[in-house]
């Protein structure tokens, strides 16, 4: 068993990992940049080590400082969380070279799956279906010719990246050269690798992914699928398990393909195989994420398993003995990503300060956050504030719990998407499970904030103005003669 785990991360995921460490009696070491010194993950951990860097995010990417922090705190393992160095093969190798346990897959597997082109070739070799595609091998001109041959629409993206960076849909041959050039320059800027690739773009695709877990010696199981089709700007905002309206036979084929791929890579620890599902039931391998996913809680809800616990036990040297038949799916779970943003302004990120926070609580609810009142929400980090997870007996019950939880939530001081998420959970097409990755665009008008009628608008303004001391004085503390004048005027 591990004794002390350093979490090379921050925010909600650091807090979430610390919770399981505490339950298992393993000590936790947090790291933080000065900007995060008051953050909940620092307070929650047994030890905390400050990392220095001019830019806050750079602190969490500094391999040498992280290893030094692990040594000074006496940590025997490092959990990377998601983002930052979680899918950096060099980091995983450096952790192992330092004599520590990296809680994740083998460095060579991270490298294999981290390259979109190489991982697709690997998938093809394992008989896992991939969408017709074209990769840039030589000049951008050759790439354009090859991509045109696949036919339109096409999805163009960076060969080295993820997270929607440098991704675009091209619908005709005449716009391709310019869009390819833009994608290549974005790829160069984000990933220091200008290679791009194109694949057949599936209209109204669904994003279905499979949680897998392997022991690194060929034993791999799946923990069923997640549907992550509700996205904005190519980033997920609502995830659920099981996927609605997915025939059992098709679900089994997708899960089997995921296990096949992971087993062929001798996959170790938790990972996720992502697929695009076409309306006709064809599915294509998208990529494999070699880490814990943001949306892992929905899988935990329906399987009753703690994925972080599984990760820690395996990393601590315990044999992974869970058989596929031991894993079952019970009920239905949703996750909402609560983000600091303005949905009405194209989901532009927002900054502010958490002035008032009431976390929803109740049966089947889970709030994974790293928030507290007074915490500044800055542009230094990702805009995700917290995750709200609801589990119920079926999709309808789970959705009802999520709606109630979104209403119960109070988060004042920074613009966020809670109202918007609430409108999605009230939308007929969403409740019917008619999902595809263009859902929020297709239903943009219905999901827009309703226009206030004059009475509602007045109510908001009155509620606001009474929140100021100045107006409170004017309204209640005015000397009598003035008050009387006010009365007469009426």
């Amino acid at each position: 068993m591990l004794k002390n785990v350093l979490i090379a991360n921050r925010g909600e995921i650091a807090c979430r990992i610390i919770r399981t460490l505490r339950r298992l009696g393993i000590q936790s070491t947090a790291v933080y940049h000065f900007a995060d010194r008051g953050a909940p993950h620092v307070a929650a951990a047994d030890y905390a080590v400050e990392l220095t860097a001019e830019v806050p995010t750079a602190a969490y990417l500094d391999v040498a400082q992280l290893l030094a922090a692990a040594r000074s705190a006496g940590a025997d393992a490092i959990h990377p969380g998601y983002g930052f160095l979680a899918e950096n093969a060099g980091f995983a190798a450096a952790v192992e070279d330092a004599g520590l346990v990296f809680i994740g897959p083998q460095p060579e597997v991270i490298r294999l799956m981290g390259d979109k082109i190489i991982s697709r070739e690997f998938a093809v070799a394992q008989g896992v279906p991939v969408a017709p595609s074209c990769k840039q091998e030589g000049s951008l001109e050759d790439f354009v010719a090859g991509a045109t041959a696949i036919g339109f629409p096409l999805l163009i993206k960076a060969a080295a990246g993820g997270g929607g960076k440098g991704m675009s849909i091209v619908r005709s041959a005449d716009e391709l050269p310019a869009r390819a050039a833009t994608a290549s320059s974005e790829a160069l800027r984000y990933f220091a690798d200008g290679r791009v690739y194109a694949e057949r773009y599936v209209e109204r695709p669904r994003h279905i992914e499979v949680q897998v877990f392997g022991d690194g010696q060929g034993h791999v199981v799946h923990l069923f699928e997640r549907e992550c089709s509700v996205q904005r700007r190519f980033q997920k905002i609502i995830e659920e398990s099981p996927a609605p309206n997915l025939p059992a036979a098709l679900r089994d084929r997708i899960c089997t393909a995921a296990v096949q791929l992971a087993a062929a890579a001798n996959y170790r620890n938790a990972g996720t195989v992502e697929f695009i599902l076409a309306p006709d039931g064809a599915f294509y391998f998208l990529e494999m994420n070699t880490r814990l996913q943001v949306e892992h809680p929905v899988t935990e809800c329906v399987t009753g398993l703690d994925l972080v616990e599984l990760q820690l036990r395996l990393a601590g040297g315990e044999p992974f003995s869970l058989a596929q038949s031991d894993i079952t799916q019970t009920g239905h779970a949703f996750e909402c990503r609560l983000c600091a943003e303005q949905p009405e302004h194209d989901f532009r990120p927002a900054t502010g300060r958490v002035m008032r926070l009431r976390e929803p609580a109740g049966e089947g609810l889970r709030f994974d956050g790293g928030l507290r009142e007074g915490l500044a929400i800055t542009a230094a980090f990702d805009s995700m504030l917290a995750k709200l997870i609801a589990h119920g007996g079926d999709r309808q019950e789970s959705a009802a719990r999520m709606r109630d939880a979104l209403q119960e939530l109070v988060l004042l001081g920074v613009d966020h998407n809670a109202d918007y998420l609430g409108r999605i959970f009230a939308h007929r097409a969403f409740l019917a499970g008619q999902l595809h990755t263009g859902f929020v665009v297709e239903h943009a008008a219905a999901l827009a904030a309703p226009t206030l009628d004059p009475t509602q608008r007045a109510a908001v303004l009155i509620a606001a103005v009474l929140g100021t001391d100045e107006f409170q004085r004017l309204a209640y503390d005015c000397p009598e003669p003035h008050a009387s004048i006010g009365h007469w005027r009426n």
Partner: protein, 165 residues
């Protein structure tokens, strides 16, 4: 003297017109009676406006009041009357950065005429690319950023002036 509030970019005037028997506020010329019940231990309060109950959470931060009214959130700008009067009618001409970031692309050019909604700049903040569109028709009077340049929160990015009549 009325207080000036701003909701969704539109200003409104609020004033007290009566305190008894019920507090009466005038909002953009329309009168509303207001009864405020004390907040519960969680901080939620019930506001009766013309007798209709609303559940309100609110917190003030400088010149903004953040409000949750029933199920929806609002951010309301608040200025005391004196401050409001001192500021001219330049709103919408200056485009400032909401947060620090960098410039990905500059579509606007000096002295160019633009229509409301025309893309002026593409900026990147918090890993997201955002297109800045003209809030109204006008002429690009000044341009304070260039491609790949960075800017701080509140920085003036671009200013417009009205089209000549």
């Amino acid at each position: 003297m009325p207080s000036i509030l701003t909701l969704d970019g539109a200003p409104a005037e609020l004033d007290v017109t009566a305190r008894r028997p019920l507090l009466t506020l005038q909002v953009d010329g329309q009168a509303y009676t207001v009864e405020e019940l004390p907040a519960d231990e969680d901080g939620a309060r019930t506001l009766l406006i013309n007798g209709v109950p609303y559940t309100v959470w609110r917190t003030r931060e400088g010149d903004r009041v953040h409000v949750k009214l029933d199920d929806a959130y609002y951010s309301v700008g608040y200025q005391e009357a004196v401050v409001a009067a001192a500021q001219g009618g330049n709103a919408g001409n200056e485009i400032r950065a909401d947060m620090p970031g960098m410039v990905v692309e500059v579509m606007a050019s000096l002295e160019a005429e633009v229509n409301a909604g025309d893309a002026l700049l593409v900026i990147e903040s918090m890993k997201m690319q955002i297109t800045i569109a003209a809030p109204r028709a006008g002429v690009v009077e000044s341009l304070h950023v260039e491609r790949n340049g960075s800017f701080q929160k509140g920085a003036l990015l671009l200013s417009l002036r009205a089209l000549a009549e």
